[in-house]
Amino acid sequence: MFNKSVLGFLLTVCITYTSALYFHIGETERKCFIEEIPDETMVVGKYKVELFDRQQNMYVPTRGGLGMHVEIRDPDDSMIISRVQVFDMNIGDFVHTAPGPLGMHVQIRDPKGSTIMSRTYAAEGRFTFTSHSAGEHVICLHSNSSAWFGGGQLRVHLDIQVGEHANDYQQIAAKDKLTELQLRVRQLLDQVEQITKEQNYQRYREERFRQTSESTNQRVLWWSIGQTVILLLTGFWQMKHLKSFFEAKKLV
């Protein structure tokens, strides 16, 4: 029991110590990140939000005030099963959580722009989703504070890992009881799978590029012909109209 609480404490220290990359946004501002990924790729995002305290003149963790709202969209409008977990200090681990009163709104849109997931969560946690279609997924964040404009500054720590980087190998080793070599081979398999998916997606993108170029070619061709025809027709119409006009005026 003592050991478990020690582990919990250390994990707490670890999680709070791992301040990943962070940036500042206003309370009412919105920030978006783009992930261009092939399909069936897992994306794990870890975040932490801190509010600027004017009295202490530093950033402090928010206390049940601000949190995060996650929204992911899918092209076929189907719900992606995603998990958002919040770090629970008592248990010392990430847990599923019900939506809180105020949150950081994270919106994830898939390539066609439709929403996959949309929920509100607390100030610190992580969200996971697996893409069902290849393309540009957009992850947007903003806090759902009730201020209309201005408001305080927020510090958002964000860490997004895609595909093979999202796997926690220590956990996998513990679960499947793998030796180090087996774990290494498992990692290599994951990497190769990621490379294969990316190559496949590359083929599809290249085809789209080629279609766009061919479409441009067609358009240039047909519009050139079309504009020449319009020009000639306009010329003929002008001459005909002028001739009949001058004949009416008895000038010709």
Binding site: L21, F23, L181
Partner: protein, 216 residues
């Protein structure tokens, strides 16, 4: 197994802290609107090798200003209107390192920027076994490590290839749209000019005063 784990708990804890704080690698792609500046910060320890590379994917002349500052406001890198660059440095003090992308010189083009920030070396795969490499690695294990390094390079090249391809494709799609719009616009202009010419010419010959210049 459980006894070993609980026995080495403090060590595990320390290792976990050290591991997690030692290594971070993050890549992000975001849109930078015109006349704006976006900064990212990270707190890094001393003597850590860091690499930051960035690339502009779409927007205008594909250029952005980048500035990298250390903890005491010391400027480590500053360059303007770069399309792609990579900075490697070893930190010589603890503190908050900051890099900022600026699109303030642009009046209306939004830029999409990709950056990859690598802090420290890759952690050992299995963080539990501290003494795993007290014995020399077998050939199998070292081959596996070599393959892993090779695959990492492949993934890195793939990422760069993807970025270049996105750049080209975005431009081609933009070109496609512009050809359509400008062609429609030009056709409309031709018609308007043609009709306008006739109308103006007619107005020359229809004065209020009766005027005849019939030559017989």
């Amino acid at each position: 197994m459980a006894r070993i784990v609980t026995g080495s708990l403090p060590l595990l804890g320390i290792l976990l802290v050290v591991t997690l704080t030692m290594v971070r690698a993050g890549e992000l792609t975001f849109e930078l609107p015109d006349n704006e500046r976006m900064c990212f910060h990270e707190i890094i320890e001393k003597n850590v090798k860091c690499t930051l590379e960035f690339q502009v994917i779409t927007g205008g002349n594909y250029d952005v200003d980048m500035e990298l500052t250390g903890p005491s406001g010391r400027n480590l890198y500053k360059d303007t209107k770069k399309q792609y660059d990579s900075v490697t440095w070893t930190t010589d003090e603890n503190g908050e390192y900051r890099f900022c992308f600026s699109n303030e010189f642009s009046t209306f083009t939004h830029k999409i920027i990709y950056f990859d920030f690598q802090v420290g070396d890759e952690p050992p795969l299995d963080g539990f076994d501290v003494d795993a490499h007290a014995t020399a690695m077998t050939q199998m294990e070292s081959s596996a490590v070599t393959i892993h390094e090779g695959l990492k390079i492949v993934i890195d090249y793939q990422t760069h290839h993807r970025l270049r391809e996105t750049q080209g494709r975005a431009f081609a799609e933009d070109l496609n749209e512009r050809v359509q719009l400008w062609s429609i616009g030009q056709s409309v202009v031709i018609l308007l000019v043609g009709i306008g010419q006739i109308i103006i010419l007619r107005s020359f010959f229809t004065d209020k005063r009766p005027y005849s210049s019939i030559k017989t």
